[in-house]
Symmetry: C2
Subunit: 204 residues, 2 copies
């Protein structure tokens, strides 16, 4: 059985939704980041950087990084394209979200990772906010004229939904992003998404 280390409202929400969609039993292992669960010695053996998510595979091996966890779950549950070119496009989208969108937000939420002098944090946060907003607009553009980021519902959609939630949290004008907001609405119509939103108590 799979197990997922996750924290409410973190980027682990994408994998959490996918596992809920799957119908397969899994063990949710909730972390309290404010209490420092992610820095416990046992957890650092699973994830040396002390982050979520971490997926524990059936044999007990941990798998980290959304760029690996989401394709793995997608293949297992039929939420991932099988054709080579479509798969490459999906990996490109996962990469865009993981290497650009997520780090931009981290500059808002974790400025201490990027500078030592706290008086520099507001500048870093403001710039992160600008970059994050610009990238959310790009996601909006990707969703123009389509229901889902790939040809059909895939693991990309819960991942994009997670960043929509982060946009709300940062009080960005998300309603202006019409395609992305319609995507959010489609996500919220799914029972698995509703269960995760309730469990993680996020504003969506």
């Amino acid at each position: 059985m799979l197990a997922l280390y996750y924290a409410p409202g973190a980027c682990s929400m994408a994998a959490h939704i996918v596992l809920e969609e799957s119908g397969e039993p899994y063990e949710p292992r909730r972390m309290d980041l404010a209490k420092g669960d992610q820095r416990a010695e046992a957890y650092l053996k699973i994830h040396p950087l002390g982050r979520v998510p971490a997926l524990i595979l059936d044999g007990g091996e941990p798998l980290i990084e959304n760029t690996a966890i989401l394709p793995y779950l997608g293949k297992r549950f039929g939420l991932w394209p099988t054709e080579a070119l479509a798969e490459a496009r999906a990996l490109s989208r996962v990469g865009f979200l993981a290497t650009n969108v997520h780090p931009a937000h981290a500059h808002i939420s974790r400025p201490e990772r990027y500078a030592t002098d706290a008086s520099h944090f507001p500048d870093i946060q403001a710039q992160g906010r600008t970059t994050f907003h610009t990238l959310l607009k790009q996601i909006d553009g990707m969703l123009a004229g389509r229901e889902w980021l790939s040809d059909r519902y895939s693991v990309l959609d819960p991942y994009a939904f997670t960043f929509y939630v982060w946009g709300i949290r940062r009080e960005l004008p998300m309603g202006e992003l019409k395609h992305y907001t319609a995507h959010r609405d489609r996500m919220l119509a799914r029972p698995a998404v509703q269960r995760v939103v309730a469990d993680e108590q996020v504003k969506a």
Copy 2:
């Protein structure tokens, strides 16, 4: 025929090496980032963020993000694991390099992405340097007791080699990283790597 947009010494070096290894003809399209080639209107249609690499597929479609380009090339040229679990591990490593190691270095080379006040740049660069060095030590640990990052030579190795070169560029004490330095030596013994190092004129 594939075409690769690359810039000397940039993270496109990984894909460049893989294409050289392949023996398949391809079209190298060299970009001059100092001249702003990456911000040309035509290029922004290929890569909206104005970055390298971009791989142009046989049908003319562009593929961006190393998290997609490297697995795509790896599958095409037999430099990628085929078994599901081994593939997940490889994607995790690509993700670690793309979402942690690369952005840490960007704080050294491109502080203007992360703050607007230039007086904050030295702090951001110093912190980026510390984080980058810490992550290179993690790569060193991953290479302990093994020849290559995966069970055999794969697209992960040119990617890790690229960050070794960046460590030299930043004058980090790379020689202290024994496993990573031995990996660099193995890379430099490969004719394809030698050709790319000569073409891109990097210190390795």
